[in-house]
């Protein structure tokens, strides 16, 4: 009877999910309520968690709760800490959910709501969650080893080195692109710039509090920090209204980029307790609060999605970024669907804290489902605003023009009516001078969030406060990624550089710290600067590079996972990692090829460089802009080389893995697993 009841409930959930999915897929013309998106996503997640993750846990991975985890065997209260599964779920989710699932779907909304939403749901349940889950479990069985170490041991030495370089490459491009998102959000906005600048002294105050006054009292310090941050969001309006103060905090894109580069260097070189850690605590609390508020807002307001299911830009002529749905939708939405970066967290801190193998299902698979849901909410927030406003905010000036009137004429011509006065009014209502040409996703998401929040609390009067709260929340945790990533990048440079010149590897040596911090900041800073001065808005060239690098890392993780499954003798179930791996390789290879060789200058980097060269040769570039154009040509060629290197890395890894797999299939290579030996748990059931 109980079985029948359960079967009926799950049939109901599946039918509801299928109904909601078909509604959002087949609906045309009339505006659609966001509740359908929430229903479709939640039902798909429930069914996939209940059935697919259970299948992975039981058949493919054979999770064993009698096997002692690294946290039990090495329990030291420092690295190896047995942690309650819900607490660890919160830890893991806070670690994997960054700005990516918010920005990617917002950018991909230019294709319409449908392609991005379907990819967010399908990509997560069949790809992203599987990757996170299997890598977490394999790391647990290897004493919490990192992805690079597992690649070296299970696939081969070359695989390990490739994984290490892939991590460094993704780190550099990630930091540049998230920096660009912040720059485009803060450009010419004294309110937002003041608010974000003030989070630095707040973090310093928290750092001193936590280090000297009340060591380790994170909750007290965070409460103080969050209260001060809310105060500076409100105070930002007073600063913006006072002309003498507003002048100080009105910065150009290049000035903001320089400030970010200096900040990244300082955060990497200063003691971690002073700036980096307290900012991370602050960001974790505000992130959790803002995501929860967005979910509640969407459920309470149930906004109407105004973006059509598919726009005319599926032909590849999109103003936000150029390129067709395949491969560019799959590259633009990486985090939220499949993100290779997660494999670093899943083979880092989390496996050392897990109590039982069985918890890996909730933490590996379940936390990624949550991240995918954040992506769906971002998609809803972006599509709930008028499409004309969305394109006005996200299109670069070189396409729609720099004034509201020209933008309105171009965007209305695309079939998305836009009144120039409405753009002026909206900018004034959110306390900005202009909202035009702010490619990057953050401002349009903030407008979407502010409209949802102000429909719940405060009405139009509080639109400005909500907008700047949303900008502060995005910028704050982007800066957390920026400073934490720069520091990790510094360690990688020290480790790799230490092989060539030994003193560099000494972690406490100050010249080494400064040199390696300078090197990593210089690398991402260069890409950030070229993005800021790019006439196509920078996002057009940098975000696809980031997507390619991120999916490359996911392919590395899935190659490692497939190899381990082969060695475990799970030949029948190889498709669980092999199919997403093949899909990602197809996506990254096509995207890399198109980014390098496509004939359209907005897509192909070499075509753009050639077009600019022809303009110089034809004397169409004024003498004053000659040096700038030549630098632009060099940057396009540099980006093409980076894309080519990333694609070659995938091919080299695949070749190495294919040789290894052939050996395993023909039994010329013995399937030796490098797992830690089985030790039975000493904790009773239910501990």
């Amino acid at each position: 009877m109980k079985r029948l009841f359960s079967a009926l409930i799950w049939c109901g959930v599946a039918a509801l999910g299928a109904g909601a999915l078909s509604t959002i897929a087949l609906h045309r013309g009339e505006p659609l309520n966001a509740t359908w998106f929430v229903l479709a996503a939640v039902c798909c997640y429930l069914v996939s968690y209940r059935f697919y993750s259970a299948f992975l846990a039981a058949r493919v991975l054979a999770l064993d709760d009698t096997r002692a985890t690294p946290a039990e065997r090495h329990d030291d209260g420092r690295d190896f800490v047995p942690t309650n599964k819900w607490v660890l779920f919160g830890h893991h989710f806070a670690a994997i959910a960054g700005p990516g699932p918010l920005v990617g779907p917002t950018l991909a909304a230019q294709f319409g709501y449908l392609p991005g939403t379907l990819w967010l749901i399908a990509g997560a349940v069949l790809g992203g969650c599987v990757q996170d889950f299997v890598i977490l479990l394999f790391s647990i069985r290897r004493d919490g080893k990192s992805l690079g170490q597992m690649a070296r041991e299970e696939v081969g030495r070359r695989g390990g080195i490739l994984a290490q370089f892939a991590v460094l490459a993704i780190m550099v491009i990630l930091l540049a692109v998230v920096g660009l998102v912040v720059v485009n959000a803060l450009k010419s906005s004294p309110w937002a710039t003041f608010t974000l600048a003030m989070t630095i002294p707040i973090a310093l105050l928290m750092g001193v509090y936590l280090r000297y006054w009340r060591p380790g009292r994170v909750l007290e310090a965070s409460l103080l920090g969050v209260a001060l941050v809310i105060f500076v969001v409100v105070a930002g309006q007073w600063v913006a209204d006072a002309p003498s103060w507003a002048r100080i905090f009105t910065l150009s894109g290049t000035a903001l980029a320089t400030a970010l580069i200096a900040y990244g260097f300082a955060a990497s070189a200063l003691p971690v307790w002073l700036l980096l850690a307290p900012r991370d605590y602050l960001s974790a609390f505000i992130k959790a609060g803002a995501i929860l508020a967005l979910a509640c807002g969407i459920l309470l307001v149930r906004p109407v999605v105004q973006m059509p299911a598919l726009t005319r830009f599926i032909d590849g002529s999109g103003p936000v970024f150029a390129g067709k749905i395949f491969p560019f939708c799959f590259i633009t939405i990486a985090c939220g669907a499949v993100s290779g970066f997660h494999s670093l967290v899943a083979s880092g801190t989390t496996p050392k804290m897990i109590l039982r193998e069985g918890h890996a299902r909730l933490i590996g698979y379940g936390a990624m489902l949550m991240e995918s849901f954040v992506g769906v909410m971002a998609m809803v927030a972006a599509c709930a605003m008028s499409p004309g406003v969305y394109f006005a905010i996200n299109s670069p000036a070189s396409i729609v023009g720099a004034t509201a009137e020209s933008a309105s004429a171009t965007i209305s011509g695309w079939g998305f009516p836009l009144d120039p006065r409405a753009m002026h009014d909206l900018a004034r209502a959110v306390g900005e001078q202009t909202l035009l040409n702010r490619a990057g996703g953050a401002p349009s998401l903030a407008v979407g969030m502010a409209q949802i929040f102000s429909s719940t609390i405060g009405g139009p009067r509080l639109l400005g406060i909500w907008y700047h709260f949303a900008i502060m929340f995005e910028a704050l945790f982007i800066l957390t990624v920026l400073d934490a990533g720069t520091r990790v990048g510094r360690f990688m440079v020290q480790e790799l550089g230490g092989r060539v010149w030994k003193p560099l590897a000494r972690t406490g040596w100050v010249p080494g710290i400064l040199l390696s911090s300078g090197a990593i900041v210089g690398l991402w800073g260069y890409f950030l600067y070229q993005g800021v001065v790019d006439p196509f808005g920078g996002i057009n060239s940098l975000w696809p590079l980031f997507g390619i690098a991120n999916q490359l890392l996911a392919a590395v993780a899935l190659v490692v996972a497939t190899t381990i499954l082969m060695k475990m003798g799970r030949w029948r179930w190889l498709w669980v990692t092999l199919v997403p791996m093949c899909a990602l390789v197809a996506v990254t290879m096509t995207a890399s090829y198109q980014k390098i060789f496509h004939a359209n200058p907005r897509i192909g980097l070499l075509a753009y460089a050639s077009a600019l060269s022809s303009q110089i040769a034809a004397g169409q570039i004024p003498a004053g802009k000659l040096a700038e154009t030549q630098r632009l040509i060099f940057n396009q060629r540099l980006d093409a080389v980076v894309s080519a290197v990333l694609a070659l890395m995938i091919l080299a890894l695949l070749a190495d893995a294919a040789r290894h797999w052939y050996g395993l299939i023909t039994r010329r290579i013995q399937p030796v697993l490098h797992e830690s030996p089985y030790i039975a748990t000493r904790w009773a059931e239910g501990d």
Binding site: P82, S146, L219, G485, F491
Partner: protein, 80 residues
Amino acid sequence: MSRLSFRSVGADFPSPFFAVFFRAARVFWRALREWSGDAAYERYLRAFTARPRGTSPPLSPAEFYVEQLERRYSRPTRCC
């Protein structure tokens, strides 16, 4: 071992409503302290007492706090 018990907390309240409410609040508070790292030093001391390593005394709260941060932020802890 750090565990959240959902059974023992708040069992001594006379009214069932308050018992459930306080139990939930205390479990939430403990989970929040664990999640945020507020309880990290207590957890370290428990692990140290259970398995002392060598003759050196445990680290002070400030020493432990700095040492733990140095280790945590030398590897990827925050994703995109």
